[in-house]
């Protein structure tokens, strides 16, 4: 947690010849070698790919060519994105040996922008989990307290940014898997609007809920990363044909006169007192910056988790049918018939939580239960989505806690799947409605654990989300260190 490099400063250092991309990569691999074993955030390092890309960036810098926006920036990729030449496991033993034949679009675009991929980060198996304890390999530890979880499922991608073993990273967010670990690890994590970033090459968990998004130390870094990934991709028919705005120019713009909704349902029972106090302090800072704070209601919130666990598991049971030991992955060798081979392969290769969700999803889709569970959940999803439509008719953004508590201990919730699912209670709604959301650090509790504040916006209004996030980020940094910044800094560039 002592690496001051940001996306911006890393690129500038290479541009101004203070260092080379190759030297940066050396330094990061040294840091990873020294520090990552205690955290377990990386599953696979991609040295060959990283040094090739570094050499390319250094050649550009030597020629004095204009450098692309992420030139020389060392980043990490959650291991659910397909990468050529580097294995892609999705945190599962069933894919322990899988080498994808193509790059995910997000990966391809980041590399095209000059970013250097250091490696693939640990995650809950097939992105199913809220603590990273469901990794088929080993758990990830929170860099702020090694006895605690980093959150999940993109726990490795959050941890590398917090630990300074990557400058930025990307993850996937199906029910909070970017925002929740960002909150637990004290970094910025953003889930953009559904369809904003292509999912081509993202290993599917629940296709109507899966999103791709960035982690960074700052809101500006996250905006830079998003800028490079966003946009229509002909290889993903769900990617939106909506113009990509200039996100960076909104970071640092004033928020005066903006209406900020505060939904009472996100401040009820189950919210930790210290988290509440920190988020309320963040909301006060927005008021000081000139926002109008508007109490609102998202009345169906309490039904979001049950809706999510029907929709997500139903889609997962279908998406994960492909892991059958035929075309890729690890096959159990003792199956005498095809069906037996399927069963033994899946039994040996998939972990407990993944099997639980496949079972639940298969059950809710099975004859006799489809209407009662799956269709019912889809109807409630409509109501949850309309809650946001109604709210955004009156406000520009919504501010909530990202999580009900700060990071919990390893093992604390592993025996109670329902308790674990409730860790996502404030984040799943944005996936069901498809609206963009970000988690920004908002102080620490008395134990020194980071707390996250979540800002949600209208579909494709990432600029407002980033703008509000930047004001909170600056205000909280100034509050933590009153000599370092003026209170007005958040509203001016």
């Amino acid at each position: 947690m002592n690496n001051p490099l940001t996306v911006d400063s890393a690129r500038t250092a290479v541009l101004e010849k203070q260092t080379t991309a190759t030297a940066l990569v050396d330094a990061f691999y040294q840091k990873i070698a020294a520090e990552d074993e205690a955290i377990g955030a990386y599953l696979t390092l991609s040295q060959e790919r990283a040094y090739l890309q570094a050499a390319y960036v250094d050649a550009l810098a030597d020629k004095g060519d204009a450098l692309p926006p992420l030139a020389g920036v060392p980043i990490a990729i959650k291991d659910v994105f397909a990468t050529t030449r580097v294995r892609t496991t999705a945190g599962s033993k069933i894919l322990a040996n899988f080498i994808a034949p193509y790059d995910a679009t997000a990966v391809q675009r980041l590399e095209a922008a000059g970013a250097i991929i250091l490696g693939k980060t640990n995650c809950d198996e097939f992105a199913m989990g809220s603590s990273n304890e469901n990794s088929g390999f080993h758990p990830v530890r929170n860099p702020h307290d090694h006895s605690r979880v980093p959150g999940g499922s993109s726990g490795g991608s959050a941890a590398v940014v917090a630990a300074g073993t990557a400058v930025a990273s990307i993850g996937s967010d199906t029910g909070g898997s970017i925002r929740q670990p960002a909150a637990f690890c004290g970094v910025v994590g953003m889930k953009p609007t559904y369809g904003r970033v292509s999912r081509y090459g993202l290993i599917a968990f629940a296709s109507s809920l899966d999103h791709v998004g960035p982690f960074g130390k700052t809101v500006k870094d996250v905006a830079l990363m998003l800028q490079c990934m966003a946009g229509r991709d002909p290889l993903d028919s769900t990617s939106a044909d909506v113009p990509v705005l200039n996100y960076l120019e909104h970071v640092g713009q004033p928020v005066t006169g903006m209406k900020i909704g505060v939904p009472k349902e996100y401040f009820g029972e189950g919210l930790d007192a210290e988290v509440r106090a920190a988020v309320e302090a963040g909301i006060q800072e927005l008021a000081k910056a000139g926002c109008e704070i508007v109490p609102i209601s998202l009345p169906h919130t309490e039904h979001a988790i049950p809706t999510y666990y029907v929709v997500a598991t139903a889609e997962a049971s279908s998406n994960l049918a492909r892991y059958d030991g035929v075309r890729y992955g690890v096959r159990a060798s003792d199956g005498k018939t095809l069906a037996e081979m399927y069963r033994r392969t899946r039994d040996a290769g998939l972990g407990t939580e993944v099997k639980r969700r496949i079972m639940l999803g298969t059950y809710v889709l099975s004859a006799g239960y489809y209407d009662a569970y799956y269709l019912k959940a889809q109807r409630v999803r409509s109501l949850l989505s309309k809650d946001f439509d109604n709210a955004f008719a009156a406000v520009d953004a919504i501010v909530t806690p990202t999580t009900p508590t700060a990071a919990f201990k390893l093992g604390e919730k592993t025996d109670d799947p329902l308790a674990m699912y409730l860790a996502d209670i404030y984040t799943v709604t944005a996936n069901l409605a498809g609206v963009p959301g970000i988690s920004v650090p908002c102080g620490k509790n008395k134990a020194g654990l980071p707390i996250g504040i979540q800002i949600l916006g209208k579909s494709f209004d990432e600029p407002t989300v980033l703008r509000v996030a930047h004001v909170v980020e600056h205000a909280m940094a100034a509050a933590a260190n009153p000599l370092s910044d003026s209170p007005e800094a958040g509203t001016q560039r």
Partner: protein, 102 residues
């Protein structure tokens, strides 16, 4: 209420075998999670349309016309690359155990 028979039936549908211990745990967990999911019945949704995905609301081209591309030949994954990750092949096809018996 999910029964042991349901667990066996669903495991079969999902191509999972599950150990005795896993089945017992699954029975307990599915019942606990489904009883929580039953809260959805507190809401009257008789006049609400089901929502399968958000893309169509937000301009992603999911309509039949928009999602279609011209039907023109394009390069696809070369055969050897497609086979490279397979646990067993004969060089042309994926190899699997006997398909007749279950």
């Amino acid at each position: 209420m999910v029964t042991e028979k349901d667990v066996s039936y669903v495991a079969d549908l999902a191509h999972l075998e599950l150990t005795e211990a896993e089945r017992a745990r699954m029975l307990k967990d599915l019942n606990s999670i489904l009883s929580y999911i039953d809260r959805l019945n507190e809401l009257d949704t008789s006049a609400v349309e089901p929502m399968a995905q958000v893309a169509s609301r937000y301009g992603a081209r999911q309509d039949a016309g928009g999602a279609m591309r011209p039907d023109e030949p394009r390069p696809s994954l070369p055969h050897d690359e497609a086979m490279r990750n397979a646990p067993a092949t004969d060089g042309v096809f994926f190899k699997v155990p006997k398909v007749i018996d279950r």
